[in-house]
Symmetry: C2
């Protein structure tokens, strides 16, 4: 086998066989296939696509490029959840303890934010002391003891994905349903799970802007799950406005705790209940989504989920002061409101603008090695469809200084539109 | 401007503008754009193509990445010839002195062989002492003094092409009419010429196997010439069998001298006369191809072209003993005939098989830094369409040892077919 022949085959539109895909994946991880050969192949995949069999083979080969967890028996079904990323999406923080309280085990490996989207790990790490870089043994132990925990992708887990993703990011080859599918599932399947629910975000605040692409990705993910014998359910949800009422790392942890206290916001609660019920269905613990929703709501209403969250955070070294309004998390020195320039109905509050503004405030990354400030971000007081009065605060920004705050307010106001006509509030589930 | 945006633009099928193409070319030569970014872009170009304007901009940007010769006035028109490469193609050696004798100046920069095709420089370098690595000043001097010479691409000439070509070779991105066009013409135009005739080889012994691709390349080459105001004429010729009666470096020099002596073979003579007459037409020295052909034939018949060849070779340090049958060139120790396994008509003598066999004999390269043996190769006694008798020699192989010779005979016999039905001899000009 020869990498140039393999590239040429894909360039000419022919499908690669399993052996070829494994040769490429292993050779690239081993450093025998160069970055420039891999990037040529990736571009050929972006443009010529991959068959279902190729996507399955790629997922498998990538998954097997590193450690695969073995949590073992002695507990509920091992089911995880993944989101393709959006603005204000703190659902993993809420959902994990809820799902554990409903009888599942959740060995969740999450990512960090890049570009305009946030990352679960960054949010968690705004909690003083909390560590997500867990060794394989410790990670497995925590899942056994507490039913779940929040881990980071280490060098052992799917090294192929790490190396390929870095290249895709620098070569305009991120947008590819086969490559996205293999990237997501190889990492999730390496957790040793029996099923995963995937929240495919769709809209201006997501990587998939068009419903058609989101649907194609959903189908691709579910197909690979079927072929590999691991349950994959997908839900397509709207990212036409930020999720919930907070965006920014510490602010989202505060909101997650608010949801776990039964205090909402409503959209986060609703999405959590739906995703947990899909997880329970996948795990065979309920027979209908409705049954799952009742269990999920109950885990929150009884306070069990919040308690579980607190225990997991503590086990990972985090100090969360539940008696404090800010939970003892870092706060930004400056807050400033963004006021409605006119009266009317809120027709747009653009999530991408907000994501970019957070990055500019220091709360996100342009490059993987950028440091982030956990305290900065936005709180959102109005959602799409709400009536607003001139001068009323639509959001406030939390910033490191006045200049940053002013700039962020100005930028975010540019992503807001207020009209006279009534605006229906958008559907969350598509 | 940003390389990722440029890659994404081409990935999405949009044409790049002149500024973007120059940014890429300059940035890549300067090392600011990485190999892996360039190879992703090259693959996107292979698959999505380039508009005429893009090809022109790329040719111009590549040409301007290095030195452009300035031979100056005081002599005939500066016209060159280029071949896209085949097996047994020694026409440049014959044509250059003929064209000079007809009144042109020919500042020829040639390449080395790679894969199954030979290279003009390798052939010339089988002449003891001959140097093709000429500094810019010396090259210009020789053209002024002798009307032409044979030079190699130095690091100063189109560095963009050198760097891009190495990458294309390793990433399956060689086959692309826009990239081939820009690669050929940037180098030729950097010679400071006013016109070039390009022999586009087509068939199993050429890079372009299909007539359709050869025609598209011709059109692309002529279009760029028109747009840049430099004359480009193309001729499409058959590479369904090796050209002439010899393939291998020293053997081809011997054959070139034979043609210059008026001793043929016929196909080489005919092709030389045609290409020279096209050059004369481009240079405005004749009004019809027929007139050009007469002049070309005359330069050979009078012995002037051979004398010119000898003078140029000597000026470049080469020692050619015209009184010796082998011209004093290195000879291989072993020769062995390849005999017809049956009687009939020669229906195929595959040039690609011969090219690969020469490489295996040590006369060609798999990689650019491979050393080559100038003496090995084939002499060909029968051409397509000729009747042959069982046991009659169709070719002989010149090798370093018996084992190599036997293997080459066996391999080459596999590329030969003899049938009972009459076979028409193939057309050289398509």
């Amino acid at each position: 086998m020869n990498i140039i022949e393999i590239i040429s085959k894909k360039r000419d539109g022919a499908p690669l066989n399993e052996g070829e895909i494994r040769y490429v994946t292993d050779g690239f991880v081993a450093g025998e296939i160069t970055d420039y050969q891999m990037s040529a192949l990736l571009m050929a995949v972006v443009l010529n696509g991959m068959t279902g069999r190729e996507i399955v083979a790629l997922t498998q080969a990538m998954m097997e490029s590193g450690t695969i967890f073995d949590i073992g028996p002695g507990g509920g079904p091992l089911i995880d959840k993944h989101s393709t990323g959006g603005v204000g999406d703190k659902i993993s923080l809420i959902l994990l303890p809820v799902a554990v309280e409903c009888g599942l085990r959740v060995p969740m490996i999450s990512g960090r934010g890049l570009g305009f989207t946030g990352g679960t790990l960054d949010k968690l790490e705004s909690i003083p002391g909390l560590v997500t870089d867990l060794e394989t043994g410790r990670f497995e132990e925590l899942v056994k003891e507490l039913g779940g925990c929040f881990g980071a992708q280490t060098d052992d887990i799917v090294p192929a994905d790490k190396k390929i993703y870095r290249l895709r990011d620098a070569t305009g080859t991120v947008q590819s349903i086969p490559l996205i599918t293999a990237s997501i599932l190889s990492k999730k399947f390496a957790e040793g799970i029996s099923g995963v629910v995937i929240d495919v975000k769709c809209g201006n605040g997501a990587f998939m802007r068009r419903a058609e692409d989101a649907r194609m990705l959903s189908e691709s993910l579910e197909m690979v799950g079927r072929e590999m014998g691991i349950g994959v359910s997908t839900v397509i949800t709207s990212m036409e406005q930020p999720l919930g009422s907070a965006a920014g790392n510490a602010l989202e942890v505060i909101e997650a705790v608010s949801v776990l206290r039964g205090e909402g916001p409503e959209d986060c609660l609703e999405l959590t209940n739906l995703l947990v019920s899909e997880m329970l269905l996948l795990g065979g613990l309920v027979e209908t989504l409705e049954e799952g929703r009742v269990r999920s709501a109950d885990a929150i209403a009884t306070g069990r989920a919040l308690e579980r969250f607190h225990r997991i955070v503590e086990a990972q070294g985090g100090e969360l002061d539940l008696s404090d309004a800010d939970l003892g998390l870092p706060r930004a020195p400056v807050t400033r409101p963004g006021r409605a320039p006119r009266s009317g109905n809120l027709a747009m509050i653009d999530p991408r603008t907000m994501g970019e503004a957070i990055r500019e405030l220091g709360g996100g990354r342009m490059r993987m090695d950028d440091e982030i400030d956990p305290a900065v971000g936005f709180r959102i007081f109005k959602k799409k469809g709400d009536p607003v009065l001139e001068g009323e605060a639509i959001f406030d920004v939390h910033a490191r200084n006045d200049l940053d705050a002013e700039r962020a307010v100005r930028r975010m106001l540019g992503g807001i539109s207020i009209i006279d006509e009534p605006v229906s509030s958008p559907q969350l589930f598509l």
